[in-house]
């Protein structure tokens, strides 16, 4: 767990029409950590995510990933730089099988893809391993449309991990997922973290967050009001006020 900054968000702002969603928000994610992004409903967490991953253009502010500016780039470009992301409602390719979902980001491209098919050497095995690790190996050949929500979540996560991203943004990974699966999910994230993957996790389930996060950032009404280790942050008055106040 090193102290280098992997992701640096500075003075990020975004308004939609008359609504200020994100207001001068700053946060950092240190390399090798799991950082939680929490805050009451409507505090702008998903909008921050959308700006980091290129789905929404910031009105103001800077986002740097390993010293590269990423604000304003397309989602595909940011993905190629090593940032993966899951969505609030698990997004998967419903007509493809679980295995095929995982193969999409690592499919064999170009002319050889045409001649030899999209399954690259060893990729199908990697994908199956990944599915096994996630506990859904037996669903590899099922169209994802038939899987339960929690299983789709896992497929989504597997798809993201297939390209070995350096930073993964998880948007409410535990939402709508059975408590037993949530434990397994937490353990999976921790195990990935031990191999060097950094995480930024938006979550409402505070137990989940306190359990796995090294660092917490609290947002309230579009603005960051605290960043630090969980124990410190939860004791801060401003944080308590944000959750309990008005």
């Amino acid at each position: 767990m090193s102290g280098d900054t992997l992701l640096h968000v500075q003075n990020l702002s975004k308004r939609f029409g008359g609504v200020v969603a994100v207001n001068d928000c700053s946060l950092t994610v240190r390399k090798g950590t799991i950082t939680g992004l929490i805050g009451p409903n409507g505090s702008g967490k998903t909008t921050v995510f959308n700006m980091i991953t290129g789905f929404v253009r910031p009105d103001d502010g800077a986002i740097r990933f390993n010293d590269d500016t990423i604000a304003g780039r397309t989602p595909g470009a940011i993905y190629r730089m090593g940032i993966g992301r899951t969505f609030q409602m698990a997004r998967v390719f419903t007509r493809l099988t679980a295995l095929e979902n995982l193969l999409v980001p690592v499919r064999r491209t170009g002319v050889s893809g045409f001649l030899r098919g999209f399954r690259g050497v060893g990729q199908a095995e990697r994908a199956r391993d990944m599915l096994n690790q996630l506990g859904i190996g037996h669903m590899a050949e099922e169209p994802v449309g038939r899987l339960s929500y929690g299983q789709r979540r896992l497929v989504e996560l597997g798809t993201v991990m297939m390209v070995n991203p350096k930073l993964v943004l998880l948007d409410e990974p535990a939402a709508g997922v059975h408590p037993r699966v949530v434990d397994g999910l937490a353990r999976y994230i921790r195990s990935l973290n031990e191999t060097g993957v950094s995480f930024l996790v938006v979550e409402h389930d505070l137990n989940f967050v306190m359990d796995i996060c090294h660092d917490l950032v609290v947002l309230d009404r579009g603005r960051h009001i605290a960043q630090g280790p969980p124990a410190e942050v939860r004791a801060q008055q401003s944080v308590i006020d944000a959750y309990l106040g008005d």
Binding site: N50, F55, V56, P75, F87, Q88, M89, R91
Partner: protein, 293 residues
């Protein structure tokens, strides 16, 4: 360059553009509310033309007056079509709507041909032939009436949308269908009504079209290309965009027709479309949206 000729063509373009604008805004409304492209809209226009023609022939009602019959009838037809054929589309609505509405267009063409035959007809009103001249261009009086009607129709549409509860519901559904449902709007009903309104607007346009042009069931083919281009230009889902785009593009077409040649007038349409798609694919008033939940 013959300036007065240019001016004459401009006037002609504006007058006819207004009528196309009414037709196109019906199409834009349908897209905005239901996210479907109704390729059968031109067939609805022709249906309106036939209805007003028959009303004129059998009831001896001036087609403009006959609108009191034509419009409600078209509205009803629109609602029925939506409920029977478009509402059942649950999955892949946007993709399949093109095919479904084309099938409707074909079926409508067949029905019209079956009942009215395939001969060319025209609603020949007594004042249909009187013209006035602007800058050396002959313009039928009817075009002015048509334009005034178009303005009236657009004003009525705006009043409906911005001053009634129904209009508010329609606009809410256009902005965000899911959110509208969550606040209690019956989006299915709004969709059917919107489709009906679109059909009624098509009927208005068709009434004028039928006075000015000879038409038969086949005529929807030529028309739909124009209407689709207009809507794309204006930005799908934007009615004012459709109206303005209609004025613009019909002017360009008429100017091309008068100053260059009639053959290339049709092509000018698509030249403008190509330029638009390259420069600003979302049209004048359209918005590029990337979906991120």
């Amino acid at each position: 360059m013959n300036l007065s000729l240019l001016f004459g063509a401009l006037v002609l373009g504006l007058l006819t553009g207004g009528v196309y604008g009414v037709m196109a805004s019906g199409l834009a409304l349908t897209f905005g509310v239901m996210r479907i492209i109704n390729v059968g809209h031109a067939a609805l226009v022709i249906t309106g033309a036939f209805i007003s023609y028959e009303v004129f022939r059998h009831l001896h009602l001036d087609p403009f007056a006959g609108l009191v019959i034509t419009m409600p009838l078209m509205f009803l037809i629109g609602v029925v079509l939506e409920v029977l054929f478009i509402r059942p589309l649950k999955t892949d609505r946007e993709e399949l709507s093109v095919l479904v509405t084309w099938a409707l267009a074909l079926a409508l063409e067949g029905v019209l041909g079956y009942f009215f035959g395939t001969d060319l007809v025209q609603t020949t009103v007594s004042y249909g032939n009187s013209t006035f001249v602007v800058g050396g261009v002959h313009i039928a009086d009817v075009y002015i009436y048509g334009f005034l009607l178009a303005i009236a129709a657009m004003a009525a549409l705006a009043a409906l949308l911005y001053r009634t509860n129904l209009g508010a519901a329609i606009r809410a559904t256009m902005l965000n269908r899911q959110a509208a449902q969550l606040i209690g709007i019956d989006v299915e009903r709004v969709s059917a009504i919107s489709f009906g309104i679109g059909a009624a607007l098509a009927g208005v346009g068709g009434t004028v079209y039928g006075i000015v042009n000879a038409f038969n069931p086949d005529s929807h083919y030529d028309l739909i290309g124009h209407l689709l281009v207009i809507v794309v230009l204006g930005g799908v889902g934007s009615m004012r965009g459709a109206f303005l785009a209609a004025l613009l593009i019909i002017c360009i077409q008429d100017i091309t027709q008068v100053m260059i040649s009639p053959d290339w007038a049709d092509l000018s349409f698509f030249v403008v479309l190509t330029i638009m798609l390259v420069v600003r694919p979302q049209g004048f008033f359209g918005v590029r949206v990337r979906e991120a939940t």
